[in-house]
């Protein structure tokens, strides 16, 4: 995760603003993300964290500001200046998006194996046998029972669906993965295993990651850096342990002191 980085940032967000009419989704957000780095974004519901994630991940064009990504060929490029086709290609190859609700990230009416294989075909893999091999390798990596490979995801539990979503996204070896509340609908026991799985994979593959969550425990364990949002603005950002152990802003202090002890 922490190889020496002489290279520039993988993602650079500047002055990002999204307005819904008079309502502010997020306003004037700046950050850079380096290869292999995990950034957590926390804040209460309505603080703008999901809006920020959607804008930064190419799902929604912001009202103002830029999102630049270090493309393999042309270096840093404004993703909203790319053509639709180029942006789709980027999202299929270099990016992964793991949604809170697995139904938004999976195709529920095709098998688990096909959900994973489909992403491979999208990047040009055509050989059926090798697609099946790579797919099953990934299902094993996320600890899925291979006996369920030909079953439909809607027959899976929430935790299994989430693991399938992870396999589907990571199979193309993206350099950046966005996660929106990846563990929030799951049992605590399933959460811990999923967190460990995500952490291991992110590190093995050197993937940079942006995780939106309201769970400070999740960011403590997974993220290197933390951004705290309130009313659409970033009120504080820094190293995760520094922000949680020595919060500077009144709102972060309130957030940290409100954690219930177990």
């Amino acid at each position: 995760m922490m190889a020496l980085r002489d290279n520039g940032p993988l993602l650079e967000v500047e002055g990002l603003t999204q307005k819904y009419g008079h309502q502010i989704g997020c306003e004037d957000v700046h950050f850079s993300l380096y290869p292999g780095e995990v950034l957590g974004i926390v804040g209460e519901s309505g603080s703008g964290k999901s809006t920020l994630l959607r804008c930064a991940s190419g799902l929604m064009q912001p009202t103002a500001g830029t999102v630049r990504f270090d493309t393999r060929v042309d270096g840093l490029q404004d993703i909203y200046a790319l053509s639709e086709a180029e942006r789709r290609m980027l999202m299929r190859t270099d990016w992964g998006i793991i949604f809170q609700n697995a139904r938004d990230g999976l195709r529920m009416n095709v098998s688990a194996g096909a959900n994973v294989g489909e992403r491979l075909m999208a990047v040009g893999e055509r050989h059926y046998g090798s697609i099946r091999d790579v797919s099953s390798e990934w299902l094993e990596k996320v600890e899925m029972d291979l006996g369920r490979m030909d079953d439909l995801p809607r027959t899976f539990s929430g935790g299994m669906q989430q693991r399938l979503q992870i396999a589907r996204n990571l199979v193309t070896k993206p350099r950046l993965v966005f996660m929106d509340e990846p563990t929030s609908g799951l049992d605590v026991s399933v959460q811990a295993r999923l967190l460990d799985l995500v952490r291991g994979l992110v590190r093995q593959l050197g993937i940079a990651c942006i995780i939106v969550t309201h769970d400070l425990g999740v960011v403590r364990l997974l993220s290197d850096r933390l951004m705290v949002m309130r009313r659409g603005r970033v009120v504080e950002q820094g190293l995760t342990d520094q922000v949680l152990d020595d919060p500077q802003h009144a709102y972060t202090q309130l957030l940290v002191s409100s954690i219930l002890p177990v």
Binding site: L4, R5, L239, Q253
Partner: protein, 242 residues
């Protein structure tokens, strides 16, 4: 603030603290400000082990945490020698601090805080794997250290959540000392250990120092201080009240 020097072969400066100030502002308690560190300056060279001393509340833990960038000082510098250059942790970008922590700066906290349900040996090997060391070598090094710290092999595959306080503390120590960090920060690493294990930890600290690590630590046990310390840095409680 006073310093007593017990003569030691001084190597290169690894830590330089300059005019460090740290206070805490409690916004949700009427904005009261608590000054803790005022104008703290000192240096630590390779092969030194500096003991932080001072009464309770003098700011020993605050200073140690500031040296790890876990706390954010208001002013001053914490310079750590990383890849041969002194880098200021207070003003460094987060990804630089993370790189320094991964390869140069190790910290043993008082309490173990780990991802749940991960086996002890995997936790100890974790930081080696993160640096790209192969799994066999990493686990071997972790196993050697766990044996030395008398964690029974039957426990290695289990998560440490159910271990005794002393066992958890030893796992915590192993997680940091499995690396050969050039700079080590130790917050009471021997607090809940029995005599035998305390001696093992003292031996490990002295070995790290003899191998050239620069060490800063808080130790309440007088015998341990004498066994590992080469110098004492005395902190005075901050005077100015807000």
């Amino acid at each position: 603030m006073t310093m007593t020097d017990n003569n030691q072969n001084h190597g290169q400066d690894m830590i330089r603290v300059e005019s460090l100030m740290k206070s805490f502002t409690l916004h949700n308690q009427g904005g009261v400000t608590l000054p803790v560190l005022e104008d703290v300056s000192f240096t630590v060279a390779q092969g030194e082990c500096v003991i932080l001393a001072g009464q309770s509340g003098a700011g020993k833990s605050t200073l140690l945490r500031s040296l790890y960038a876990n706390y954010l000082p208001q002013s001053g510098q914490v310079l750590i020698r990383h890849d041969g250059e002194l880098v200021d942790l207070v003003s460094a970008a987060p990804h630089v601090v993370l790189d320094i922590r991964a390869r140069t700066l190790g910290y043993v906290s008082q309490f173990l805080r780990v991802i749940p349900r991960v086996g002890t040996i995997d936790l100890v090997a974790d930081s080696l794997l993160a640096r790209g060391i192969n799994e066999v070598a990493a686990r071997e090094k972790a196993a050697t250290l766990l044996s030395r710290l008398r964690i029974p092999e039957s426990l290695w595959s289990l998560p440490p959540a159910t271990f005794s306080g002393g066992e958890q503390q030893r796992v915590n120590i192993a997680m940091t000392l499995v690396q050969d960090y050039p700079v080590l920060l130790l917050d009471e690493p021997t607090a809940s250990l029995d005599v035998e294990n305390r001696q093992t930890v003292v031996d490990l600290i002295n070995e790290a120092r003899q191998n050239g690590s620069a060490i800063v630590g808080i130790f309440h046990d007088q015998a341990v201080r004498e066994a590992v310390g080469t110098r004492t840095y005395e902190l005075q409680p901050a005077r100015s009240a807000a």
